[in-house]
Subunit: 404 residues, 2 copies
């Protein structure tokens, strides 16, 4: 068995469903937020803490682990689970996104992320410095060929070449339970013409990924990634293409804005087979989670909760706030009085404010625990609301208060 | 009761003893290594981790907490224990050392620490950047008067004035179980003439500390600090002075080299009352711990275990090594195969090497846990060897292997 997916309940009048994904390393109750552990570590946290805060599954980044410490070393260590001591389900992305963004391959002088609206979602980045947008305006060094993509390491400038086969081989060496097919991640600003060309190449790469996977598969599940940018016809074409292939599940890639999630995700999910899980790559803000789930998404991953935590941005039922704001210096209440996380049960905003001002490492941990708990458990609650049929009310109630 | 000290066993032919210090917040089995939590946090660690690794008592730094977040805020938070969620015994130092070293008060152009021998011990610093030696060569800004010492904050250059009374008041606000009298921390290179002058001032400050403490004491124990630099006559004079005052225990301050620990500490401890605990400030290397205990020391504090951990320096039974050394990249053994710490039970050197290369926060935590476990439990083992009379053999066996 590579993967089993059972839908427990579909919510009438929406595409939302609650289910369970069974992997060889345990279950994922869906919808679920996947915790990002870029370099085989969830930044600042122990696996025990990730489990305690409700994390069910960890996603590591193929690009990062390939460069450091190297996938062969991870394999020698006994694979990702053993190396990082996470015994639950794991995923790796295909490495495509980072090769195009962090690696200096994406050289068209345009950003992969829409920078305009502040709330544009963070793509399936990998939770690491430099920020994903860091190198996107660097001079053209890209070589995208039919065979694959060449890129320079963001660490030392060394040259590398990823093909679909190579991506799968690396992911096999790393050994996660769920892996992704290799895709070209296009800019949301790219023209229809370029998107179409890239999409067709991605489809050819997808087939090669699948073939490579089938050759050497030792029990990993493979997800195919639907692309197509912001064009309905391309999204449709891509979903139809993927739906016919024997994947264990699907990823939906590319950049989104709020409207896209409602529209493109629903469009794609109406085409994808209903009985397979769907992962929305790089999405993690509360409103997007509600909308994604409503449109039939089962799992999400996003670096936002931990990344913003390290900048002092904390989630609360009343919205996000920055702990460095002077007013929290002598605020002896928890971050969120309704939160049940380790941080909120033990520490005050004043203590967090002190740790952040003093640049203390423990502050980064406590903030990360809180933010991840908040988002992971928000998705758990959404799951519960699907099961008991109160999704619509819960969504309205939560977002009204959160966005007020 | 501010403090009780019971000696369980004295080791014949040495000054070593094993005992128990009872504070209002629990017991400290001695000899014991005190974990440094400079700014009301043991860098990178949770209180639960400190407890799990065997830590019994945490020492925070008065100077640091006075500047950030401010002692009044700590008081408002319910005191140090509540603020940082450490429910065991706590100590604060007097703030004198940092006012003289980190603060720009020590302006004689000479270093407080002997820099020559690499193994010179790290003084009771406070585990914080900038390193303690950082500002000691800065231009003279000192104003040591009979009343106290003025200094500039290393954080923002603001001016401050510490008197013995102020030091005690700050320590009362912070609320640790054991506090220290205010002293002038002299350079080990200072002349006999200056050391004598400073010592006599320290003695006057000591009396004022004691008086201030007695005025407003709410159950804290006060330790007087013996100074006197590297001069036997001054050490004797200081110990005799302190011995007569009604302190709950004693600190031995100043810089030491290996020989000093054998000589000066023994000299001082023969004069101090035997039935009160003695704390050696800022000492933490294995050999110094053995020697200090042999000369009658009950407790030690030192930033070294956590500070060097953050640079990748790890303790092992076979000596210290740096995890960044290339040979550990694919070493799948634990840091120390005989170590029972969380890090060694769960992770390989290869994983640690990866985390340090990738500058991952979790690496700092794992290294700190290991080093503190190593040192804390070394002192526990020394205690056991006093109780069962095998101290001499244990010392020889341990140091032979460690220094080989």
């Amino acid at each position: 068995m590579s993967l089993e997916f059972n839908i427990e309940k579909k919510l009438e009048g929406t595409r939302a469903r609650a289910g369970v994904i069974k992997t060889r390393n345990g279950e994922i109750k869906t919808p679920s937020f996947v915790v990002v552990g870029t370099k085989a570590t969830v930044k600042a946290l122990s696996p025990e803490e990730v489990k305690e805060l409700g994390g069910q599954v960890v996603l590591a980044n193929t690009y990062h682990l390939y460069l450091e410490p190297g996938h062969e070393l991870v394999k020698k260590a006994g694979g990702l689970h053993k190396f990082m001591k996470w015994d639950g389900p794991t995923m790796t992305d295909s490495g495509g996104f980072q090769a195009f963004s962090l690696g200096a391959a994406y050289g068209k002088g345009i950003s992969k992320l829409l920078k305009k609206p502040a709330r544009t979602t963070v793509q399936s980045g990998g939770d690491d410095q430099p920020e994903d947008t860091g190198k996107q305006d660097s001079p053209a060094l890209a070589k995208i060929t039919e065979d694959g993509v060449s890129f320079k390491s963001h660490l030392d400038g060394s040259e590398h070449f990823f093909t679909p086969e190579k991506s799968i081989q690396i992911q096999q060496a790393i050994g996660a339970d769920i892996i992704f097919s290799f895709d070209e991640c296009t800019s949301p600003l790219a023209s229809h013409e370029y998107q179409k060309e890239a999409l067709e190449r991605t489809h050819r790469w997808t087939k090669r990924s699948l073939e490579e996977h089938q050759k050497g598969n030792t029990g990993q599940a493979l997800f195919g990634i639907v692309q197509g940018g912001r064009f309905d016809d391309l999204r449709t074409q891509s979903a139809e293409f993927m739906a016919k292939l024997p994947f264990d599940g699907f990823g939906i890639g590319g950049s989104f804005e709020k409207e896209d999630i409602d529209k493109a995700v629903g469009l794609v999910n109406d085409i994808l087979p209903e009985d397979k899980p769907r992962h929305l790559l790089g999405i993690g803000e509360p409103e997007d989670l509600f909308n994604g789930i409503e449109q039939g998404i089962d799992t999400f991953d996003c670096v936002a909760p931990t990344r913003v935590a390290r900048n002092g941005q904390l989630y609360s039922r009343d919205g996000k706030f920055n702990i460095l704001n002077a007013k929290y210096k002598d605020d002896f209440s928890p971050i969120d009085s309704e939160c049940g996380c380790f941080t909120c049960k033990n520490y005050t905003r004043a203590y967090l404010a002190h740790l952040f001002r003093a640049k203390e490492l423990y502050g980064l941990r406590l903030a990360s625990i809180h933010n991840l708990y908040f988002i992971v458990n928000l998705v758990h609650s959404i799951r519960d609301s699907i099961l008991d049929g109160t999704f619509k009310e819960y969504k309205k109630e939560f977002l009204t208060r959160y966005d007020k």
